[in-house]
Subunit: 366 residues, 2 copies
Amino acid sequence: MRSALVVGTGLIGTSIALALTRRGVTVYLEDRDTTAVRTAQALGAGSMEPPPGRLDLAVLAVPPVHIGAVLAQCQQKGMAHVYTDAASVKAQPHQEIRAAGGDPATYVGGHPLAGAERSGPLAARADLFEGRPWVLTPSPQTERSALNLGLELVSLCGGVPVLMETAAHDQAVALTSHAPHLVASMMAARLEGARSEYIRVSGQGLRDVTRIAGGDPALWSDILTANAEAVADILDEYAVDLDRMITVLRAQRSGEEQVRKQAYADLEEMLSRGHRGHARVPDKRSSLPTEFVAVPVAVPDQPGALARLFASVSGVGVNIEDVRIEHSLDQPRGLVELLVDAASVTTVRRLLDEQGWAWQEEAPLV
Amino acid sequence: MRSALVVGTGLIGTSIALALTRRGVTVYLEDRDTTAVRTAQALGAGSMEPPPGRLDLAVLAVPPVHIGAVLAQCQQKGMAHVYTDAASVKAQPHQEIRAAGGDPATYVGGHPLAGAERSGPLAARADLFEGRPWVLTPSPQTERSALNLGLELVSLCGGVPVLMETAAHDQAVALTSHAPHLVASMMAARLEGARSEYIRVSGQGLRDVTRIAGGDPALWSDILTANAEAVADILDEYAVDLDRMITVLRAQRSGEEQVRKQAYADLEEMLSRGHRGHARVPDKRSSLPTEFVAVPVAVPDQPGALARLFASVSGVGVNIEDVRIEHSLDQPRGLVELLVDAASVTTVRRLLDEQGWAWQEEAPLV
């Protein structure tokens, strides 16, 4: 790939442009918002000049609802040999491309699973997609050359390509992103009228669980509408569980201890299901296989302490995948987290005990 | 306060003990779990030795369900002059104290709004409560001397005391912590049986929204059961909103465009309510008044660039409350966030324009 056009210079489009420019691709930028495209150019993401001729690839980083129309336009103008997008919904754009008279042969759908705390070009980073999954949804009409250029785009951006059917992709994001987004919004909405005294006594948990509710309502209305059926199916499942939770909590009013005990057991089982489901969520180190276990160990802040720790657990065929060190300046110790493959955990913990290291179970987040 | 007993050496108890020890208070530690208490002592949180006599304060950092019984025991043994706890539910413990024959006069309920990624003594930090709200719930029977010792505890730990009625506290945490916890668990539970291919294409959003679902199911069953009615009331409200969301999404199937348009508008309004509610959630810098606005500015990575930025916006009576710098090594620029009081935002942005700085609106999280 020598040249590319990026249509839409928000967070995703500008980040793709920065990544491609860094890898030596000549990038042209387009956006209805002239401030955004000027900012992207100022950041070194590419050029606002009109492209000299047909480019190798055009990336449409515009909202899902516009993909069909924008693609048809670009194809009619013959902007590029191959086209892809970055929309978080795939089935509807695929349909709209046909409806808008676009050519599915030179188009491969794409969805990089990456985001940032902030949107807009200023938040863009060339390494935004480093190690992140990037879904490609080739249709039966997609030419192999188009798919291969899509794969080249992903690797130039440092992403991990994942090939999926459009329907499977949309069910996946409904489960892991779209339905949770609506539910986070539902919880946040109940804060709008709440007494500020109540909101004041909140913690990190509320921030985390409502964070995505800060997303742009217009943008998310587009996304959710484009994936409405799959999202509604998940919400139906939530509604069943929510009713059960209410029933179980109300049962604590019962005069019969047996009823209260049963309700408590049901509640704990629901929370345990949530605990097991949470354990499947990929770690921030997205590359880390789930079969690794974290073992937190306290390490005195003394020269060579870490070396002694590794000496304690090494040389016995134990596979230590990764190490994280947490250290708080005000305290005379560090907390080191050893990531050990599940098979070796017992061995490692025994070794730690023998050598007198204070370790603990990977405790649940409370 | 010269001496204190901490019963329960988990994350909260050990952190309180570390904070008090650092401020010169003689701390004694107790826990049924001998490993935990030994770890806490090893971290310098206090002594496992039995207290020599009656201490100034006893802090019960045990699960809500045990507060009543443990307090009655401690009072019968005359362990301390004043007693408080750290449970996240307040009304039920207050009742159980009477039921267990405890003395409400020397007890003031407490709930520090602080947590950490991990539980257990190894995750404890002396500064865990720094700048965080710490609710105290004195009852009509609570002696002033007991309340004052509670206030002294909070200030020794660096917390911000908030006096509340027990019922108001429990409604507040139901809204901001307990109900969201159940809902996060509900979402996470649907991941247990999901295709791993689906979970693989998830991002930070799913991690954030399900994080609290990783909490200990047994501990949370206790908490939720102790606050069952208030939590169920919130879930009832959620259930209404959830049904509306499903209706609105299904309406996109309608053949009538007018119906689809109305449904889209309703969806956007729901998301907007969530957006407004989310805006009320306290910032991580919990001390930061909400009337401050963040203005992200791109700063070239050149010597003196920051100095030039501040020169550009200073000296005109503009109040810059705080500055955050995000910098990614692989890129020739940093992103600086100026926190400006709302009154000055327009001035600051005009100044930035005049001096040629690239800034953007505080964009929503997407």
